[in-house]
């Protein structure tokens, strides 16, 4: 425990800015993964235990696309669209067969794919750590905000994630497709009786969730190292985020992700050995006091 470092940081603006931005980017990446998880759960009532693999695929796709085209925008698109396609195939081909079965079956199918996906990545890209490197467009001098160092890429990352949150939130609340998705989450039988292809909706939601995780992976690729199995810790953290925020709530995912991000970045100063523990402790407190999460409606 090093409380002096923590209080020292909280009182200097430079350190405060640096830690807050690093907390924000952890939080934003987590949000993109967690919002897909929560969306899939909200509509399909399954927890995609292989969601971390989509994050991993997004990162690898982005790295490869960047190596071939040299365009960062294309790399991000490749990460998001590539994983969305995998998500669609995965849902239609496999997950849709275990709806309505008990949790054991769903977990097993996902578990099988975690093993398969990790090995596929190992086969194609090799088992060693990879690094995409910072795109040339962002290899510029960092900004100084109130004395704190902020790389411009961090701002882009936060901006993209916020835009995704906004589009998703508005899209679900205001558009016709959003309305259909919400209806399907509520009563799929009724929706399909009205002549809407619920299978397509399910596949689409899964693809959207997978694509968001892939986008997170693509955004993370320049700042994190790539390795098979990199998605698993992200999966656990984003699950903690959804538990804190409340399953099925997009706002909850955003708030939960930011809280976890800040806990991680400031916790690593004050409690270097117990950073992960802090996260779990926070989850336990929320679970005990509000079992349905901060923004959840149903009781878990």
């Amino acid at each position: 425990m090093d409380l002096d470092a923590l209080t020292g940081c909280l009182t200097t603006s430079a350190c405060l800015v640096t830690q807050t931005t690093s907390g924000l980017i952890i939080g934003m990446l987590l949000f993109l993964v967690a919002v897909g998880l929560t969306l899939i759960f909200g509509v399909l009532k399954v927890v995609n235990f292989s969601h971390g693999a989509f994050y991993m695929f997004g990162a690898y796709f982005a790295m490869t696309a960047y190596q071939f085209t040299g365009s960062f925008a294309l790399a991000m698109l490749a990460g998001a669209i590539g994983t969305a396609i995998i998500g669609l195939v995965f849902e239609r081909g496999f997950m849709s067969r275990v709806y309505g079965h008990d949790v054991l079956m769903q977990l097993l199918v996902c578990y099988a794919f975690v093993l398969i996906f990790d090995d596929v990545v190992r086969m194609i890209w090799g088992p060693e750590f990879k690094s995409m490197g910072m795109p040339t467009a962002f290899q510029v001098a960092p900004l100084f905000i109130a004395g704190g160092v902020v790389p411009p890429y961090y701002l882009l990352l936060i901006g993209v994630a916020l835009a995704a949150a906004l589009i998703l939130g508005l899209g679900l609340a205001r558009t016709r497709i959003g309305k259909v998705i919400r209806a399907a989450a509520h009563n799929p039988g009724m929706v399909s009786a009205l002549g809407i292809n619920t299978g397509l909706i399910y596949g689409g939601v899964f693809a959207l969730g997978g694509g968001l995780a892939g986008l997170a992976g693509a955004l993370a690729a320049p700042v994190r190292s790539l390795t098979p199995g990199m998605g698993f810790s992200v999966l656990i953290e984003s699950f903690i985020v959804t538990v804190i925020g409340g399953m099925g709530s997009i706002l909850g995912a955003l708030v939960g992700a930011l809280l976890i991000g800040l806990i991680r970045s400031f916790g690593s100063l004050g409690f270097p050995l117990f950073t992960e523990g802090l996260m779990y402790l926070f989850m336990v407190i929320v679970l005990v006091s509000r079992p349905s999460g901060l923004f959840g409606k149903e009781v878990a």
Partner: protein, 341 residues
């Protein structure tokens, strides 16, 4: 799963009508199994086979205890492996740091597991299905990351090295391979017998009722929370014994023992063998270990092979092997009953 559970109802009637005889029968089967296992070293000198049985004992106890949760209570724990790891580390650390006799360390590890399981269980068992699965998994990751980051105490990612001291006690010398083998077999048989007693006891039937209809169970006056917590802790204790066997076998403890893949394998073993019979997980353990050993010898990508096998069972068959045997026996019995009016 509903049709399988319906059939379990018929099995329930049968075992209820003759509880005494099944109890003696279980003890006799356990004794016979132990004698056969104990005679095995006299028949074969293959160290590989004996090692295989020891590993089966470790994983078998772990998987069968998981079945108490998954199959009997309907609690799909995805973090049960944490107690396996806790057993291995608890035992290894107690032996390394304090040098107490083996039985004392054994009991101490069980006590540690009891406390940890009671705390984690108290938080987890009030949660529903998927929440329960993931929060147990989250706790597993907490324990794993604690082991990794607390290098001065646990050795971090290197694991507990330098071997676990195994001083002889009561004429049993666990550094002797044969003694270790017999000791593991004894623990396996006793553990299985105890778990069988739990499963066949009135408490075991309470658990089945909670699995099938928790609301009804609480209406007839059962404290569902308490029953779930009790079985969570009991299952953790047996998993911990499995971990201790593993620690004794490899004379160390490694972070992999507490990693989530152990829990995943446990779930898969239960699926493979089937959760409707008591010995299903044991059968699953033997199959998975053989499968693991063969596949790792053939290819380095054993995740793909294992994943396809899991998909085949989960989507293709939707049942474990012992479920098929169980159904076949039940069909035969029904047919025989029809023929003899």
């Amino acid at each position: 799963m509903s049709e399988v559970r319906a059939e379990q109802g018929t099995a329930l009637d049968v075992s209820r009508s003759e509880p005494k005889s099944t109890r003696y029968r279980d003890a006799l089967i356990a004794l016979a199994a132990f004698i056969i296992l104990a005679l095995l070293p006299a028949l074969t000198s293959s160290k590989f086979l004996l090692d295989f049985v020891i590993r089966c004992a470790a994983y078998g106890l772990f998987a069968t205890s998981l079945n108490l949760l998954v199959g009997y209570t309907g609690l799909t724990s995805f973090g049960h492996g944490m107690f396996f790891g806790l057993g291995a580390y608890g035992f290894g650390l107690t032996m390394q740091k304090t040098g107490v006799p083996v039985p004392v360390a054994f009991v101490a590890t069980l006590l540690i597991t009891l406390v940890v399981a009671a705390v984690i269980g108290a938080i987890c068992v009030r949660l529903k299905e998927i929440y329960f699965a993931f929060v147990t998994l989250a706790f597993q990751m907490l324990i794993h990351s604690t082991i990794l980051s607390w290098v001065s105490f646990t050795g971090g990612d290197q694991g507990l090295r330098g071997g676990i001291p195994r001083p002889p006690f009561l004429g049993i010398d666990l550094s002797n391979h044969l003694h270790l083998y017999i000791f593991s077999c004894a623990l396996l048989v006793i553990g299985l017998l105890l778990m069988r007693q739990i499963a066949q006891s009135p408490f075991g039937y309470t658990l089945r009722m909670i699995r099938d209809n928790a609301t009804r169970a609480s209406f007839v006056g059962i404290d569902v929370y308490r029953a779930k917590l009790t079985i969570f802790v009991l299952a953790a204790l047996f998993a911990s014994v499995g971990g201790m066997i593993m620690a004794l076998f490899v004379s160390g403890a490694y972070p992999e023992f507490a990693y989530w893949t152990i829990s995943g394998e446990g779930i898969f073993i239960n699926m493979l063998g089937g959760v409707t019979t008591f010995l299903g997980p044991m059968v699953g353990t033997v199959i998975l270990l053989i499968l693991n050993d063969t596949v790792t010898r053939v290819t380095e990508y054993h995740g793909i092979v294992l994943g396809i096998v899991i998909l085949f069972f989960a989507i293709g068959l939707r049942k474990g092997l012992m479920d098929f045997v169980f159904e076949w026996v039940a069909q035969r019995r029904d047919a025989a009953r029809e023929r003899a009016p």
